[in-house]
Amino acid sequence: MRIWVTGIGVVSPLGRGAGVTMDRLLAGDRAFGELSLFDLPDLRTRLAAEVRGLSAAEVAPEGDAEAWSRTDAMSVLAVREALAQAGVAPSLWPIDLIVGGTTAGMYETEDLLAELSRDADAIKPLRAMLTHPLSSTADHVRAAVGPFRRVRSVCSACSSGANALLLGAAWIRAGVSRCVVAGGADGLCRLTYTGFGALSAVDPNPCRPFDKRRAGLNLGEGAAFLVLEPEEASRARGVTRPIAELVGWGVGAEAHHITNPEREGRTAARVMQAALAKARLTPADIDHVNAHGTATPLNDSMEAAAIRACFGPEAERVLVSSVKGQIGHTLGAAGAIEAAVSVMTIARGEVPPTIGLEEVDPACPLAHATRATKADVRAVMSNSFGFGGTDTALVFAAPDVFPAPEAPARRSVVVVSAATIGPLGVLGARENDAYLTPGPAPAPGPIHFQAAEHLDVGRARRLDRAGRLSAVAIQRALRDANLDPLDPSIGVEVGAILGAAFGSVDGSTAFMRRIYEKGVKFASPADFPNLVPSSPVGHASIYLGLRGPVFAVADLGVTAECAVVTAADLIAVGEGEVLAAGSVEEASPMIERCLGPVCSGEARGVRSEGASAILLEAEEHAKARGIRPIAHLPWWTSWRGEGEGALDGAPMPPKRAAILTGQEDLPPGLRLPEVWAAVPHRAVAPRSGVHEGAGGFAMAAALAAIARGELDAALVVGHAPERGYALLLTAERSPDEPGSS
């Protein structure tokens, strides 16, 4: 099954449009200029690669621009361009949307957060906060462009855009998507600008990837999206030839350090090799590497070592370049922009240069393309590496050059463990039904949590509270499954997909306040990496040694359900054997009184907090380990809108079944199939408290009830405004396996 790339859209600091961006990259233009978006006293540099003349008002509905971000605007423009080139529209064709990013509307909300936090009594719902959650970009793209079917927001820091494409590829190979538009977007903001400055990672002059005198990165902004389709579906609608094919991908985590890459590039080399293996290509088939190439001293030497380790003697031949010397580091967009450039490199037969590279660092001995080079490019590898050591490589190839890969057989997914940390403490795989038993409501606000009772606080000193709660939940889930990620005999890398609806709100607020009150030079380098939405799961992966796929998702009050469904999607097509999935939500006045009411709606009940981790595994792998799963996951789904008919495909309930939810109510617009309408409904919110991650507690409670033999099946349903997820957990193998998505 071939995955066709049939459309590309790019908004970059070099211009609006994929074509103009590529023209100017090949011409060697650099987009760096004086920062105009904001002014802060005492910045060490004001250099940035901005997308000029762009505002949210361009794409927002009339009069609603205050609730839209520049990131939204770049995304909408890039998605429209990609869809137009592919000749598809979400109103006429089932199209799925995946957006990778890190900042969303941070630029529009960071000042407001700092201002509101000065007086706790002044915290109130503000419409402008609609653009703060990571998921707002995808929501706004959907609002502006059309009714995308399945929608996800993913974050793995600077590899977010690449992982959005990877998830899209997984959906297509799973046969659940006929068309996916996937990519990434990130707008410049004060938080990332001062944060990278605090890390001394910024070159005050235009950067020099792979150069001996390189002194750091420059920040840029932008968005890029690719339309991916299975060949058959694309042909069926009349397309005869793609721009290129997405043929391989690899993803893994370093489990090493939150900001510094492994010096020897071991994991980067591993994911590059995995991408080649997935594509069934050898280094001799690749003609170009579009490098991550940030121009920081550590990244470039690590990446050079990884490329040499992966390519061996072919590294002398394969042309390597980085676009970051021209458009800077566009963070969550970078992996997508570079994927778009890789596709255009193949289509045009011309490799873009590394501008800024004058004297190659002896530690980076590669075949560098220092000028645009015409070449017959059969295949390109595009590398992306993020904070927390989240590494992803994608491989694109010219159409029909290589044999079509076979679609993998769909695999059954089981759940082997689950754990939560919440108002009732840390509960393991067989204990979470406590959240279904009658009892007092939790005390409002933060839960009791002494990190030292659960973690080696010396090793966990860099983990903020969200990172610690996440690590505790995943650690307990692993323990109950008798799984040690560091034990090489398990034969696979364990991964984790875990998100938070609003990210590190209080951390971001404190970081910004410090800048305003003390000055830019007192921005905290240690706090900054904890503000990216993938920080909790990244920290947990480092602490626990998780080296499989590691990233965050965000989807308001159904973030935990989104994580579990996404993990199931990946395992079903072989993109991971064991994945922990869930969410972490912290009690915070800013969430409770400002973001929550605006984004999630008014919450009824006591607000609490907590983290959940559901441990999913490929059934064949669990069997090989001799593990008896707690439950099968024969069916799962997600929807946008009211969810009318979304559950129609749910298999018949067995005798002792229940419908379980986090929040007390079932979605008002959801119609239960007749066979499920009489099944009892139970909610965990009265005991777990109300928060955006309550669905994770519902899943854990369902699993414990199944593990104890109290239930034969549970249909877990989660909903938030305009979206929902449902998944069926069964004690016995359902005849309807494998499930749909």
Binding site: A198, S200, I258, N260, R461, K521, F522, A526
Partner: protein, 88 residues
């Protein structure tokens, strides 16, 4: 500035700013290397420590090779602070 006082304040700063939970200022050996084998700190800690030293003592810690000798130990860092204060 009294060097012993600076060393004490510095160690208190390290415990809080670098989240050295479970450690007391008195546990930190004034002469031991801060990075690598000694306290096990790394480049991210160095950045955080440099920022907090400037905040609390009003003394800039230079970057690059110069920083290496200053960050050698609590003694060396305290000496840098005392010297910079005396010169100011």
């Amino acid at each position: 500035m009294d060097p012993a006082d600076v060393r004490q304040r510095l160690k208190e700063l390290m415990v809080t700013e670098l989240n050295l939970e479970g450690k007391e200022p008195a546990d930190i050996d004034d002469a031991a290397p801060l990075f690598g084998a000694g306290l096990g700190l790394d480049s991210l800690d160095a950045l955080q420590l440099a920022m907090s030293v400037e905040e609390k003592f009003g003394v800039r810690v230079p970057e690059g090779d110069e920083a290496k000798s200053i960050f050698a130990s609590v003694n060396a860092l305290a000496e840098h602070i005392v010297r910079a204060k005396a010169a100011a």
